[in-house]
Symmetry: C2
Subunit: 297 residues, 2 copies
Amino acid sequence: MPFQHTAIVGLGLLGGSLALDLRAHVPEMRITGIARREATRVEAQGLAIDGRPVFTALAAELDAAREADLIVLCTPVQTIIAQLAVLATIAAPGTVITDVGSTKRTVMNAAATVLPQGTFFIGGHPMAGSEKTGLSQARRDLYRGATWALCVPPGAEEAAARLAALVTTLGARPLTLDADSHDALVALTSHLPHVLAAALANVTLGSTYDDLVLPFIAGGFRDGTRVAAGSPEMWRDILLTNRDQALRALQALQTELEGWRVAIQGGDAALLEALLTAAKVRRDHVPSPAVALASDE
Amino acid sequence: MPFQHTAIVGLGLLGGSLALDLRAHVPEMRITGIARREATRVEAQGLAIDGRPVFTALAAELDAAREADLIVLCTPVQTIIAQLAVLATIAAPGTVITDVGSTKRTVMNAAATVLPQGTFFIGGHPMAGSEKTGLSQARRDLYRGATWALCVPPGAEEAAARLAALVTTLGARPLTLDADSHDALVALTSHLPHVLAAALANVTLGSTYDDLVLPFIAGGFRDGTRVAAGSPEMWRDILLTNRDQALRALQALQTELEGWRVAIQGGDAALLEALLTAAKVRRDHVPSPAVALASDE
């Protein structure tokens, strides 16, 4: 049976975009928005699609999620974990709870520990987002074409099928995998790129050349550091809840870079060309955004 | 006196775009295009702006540059150096020679060594380009808003002023600085980003997860590795002709990354947040592409 009442907890870019998509694609859905800040609720109150309000109800407290048959936690990972403990005292039997957090093992473990029998937790992570955050950045079709990872505990298969059907309705591509694999993969495809973007911003923009640096900045640096403008708190939590895999990815990158250093220092043309060619061949195989519309993390 | 006859040597993305801009902005300019490959010359023959052919003449050999009062070398850096030796036997007194190569010390040294008295060499480097190469990618206004670095040897000031006036006509922003500073700056703003993009592509796409990696790729990785699709030969030459500064930039990055590794391994939330915040503050200060239209490299 499709979900009839979704409570979205956290109305930022991801929660807000989800609400817009639900109202657009499942017009009869009851949608309760939960946001602690009053300014956010006021902004959410004004959201409409084709003249119809996006939210059926808005509230400040998690208690408002009590009657929902689907609760989606769209808050930072550490907040998700805290909110799961509160939901454990609220959610009715049969409720499906999911999240959009960027790491999955910590969240899955917390859910397994605190949630009562009879509720179903599916870990979720849509590969969509932006370095721009907040409800004002929310938009329809943010999830179109994006992989939506689902981590399904034993016994939650039917709930996961219902959730997969819903995200498919929004144009996303559900992909079920275990939390270990998820966290290892996003360490490579999302967390490592973020660390590199931030480290590059720090080295280049923090150099002693000061004002002379900006005129020499072009597309490669601009694109390579774009995500470094993202929320420091969110990324701190992501790295801390995926420490071992982020570390493993970073160490692999450090080893790779040491190979480049040796090649440059030694003036080894053949090795440099081999490294550059391997990268080009690999990068040329990545489908263009026209095919995979997903934006960032 | 403005230049009346420009010879463009090498009709790829940069040379082709320069020709289009010259024809558009300086309609009376004689433009001789020099390209070794016949297919390129045939393609160049077909280029027109407002019904007028872009090239006045096309040729395979450098000798065709003999009558130009401005010769622009738009070939890879190592080729530029070889071509300077040939031009030394061809260029008439008073001829101004420049280039668009990505590193400047090696080129300036070669020019100072081989060119005869009476010719003027100005090192040039427009901060524009793309990972997509070749004449088919050439476009008008590629240089609009881009910094165009000029390295001016003693005695070439008047020639440099004429060249600066010309690139200003194309919408670029001439910036005169010494070759040492140029090479140090582009190591940080262009060469280091390229090495990181390529290293990231190698680590993430070369991981053992194979087919599972692609569904998890989103905007951060895509943008962070875009330039890795560039020409391996061109980037090999860039790194080899700027070895010491590329090495210095890479080592600074390695030191920075080691700080991140320690912070992640130790679960140091405060240090991680400080590193992420520093990067965000710095990245937020970079003007958006709407302001600085320059593309890559």
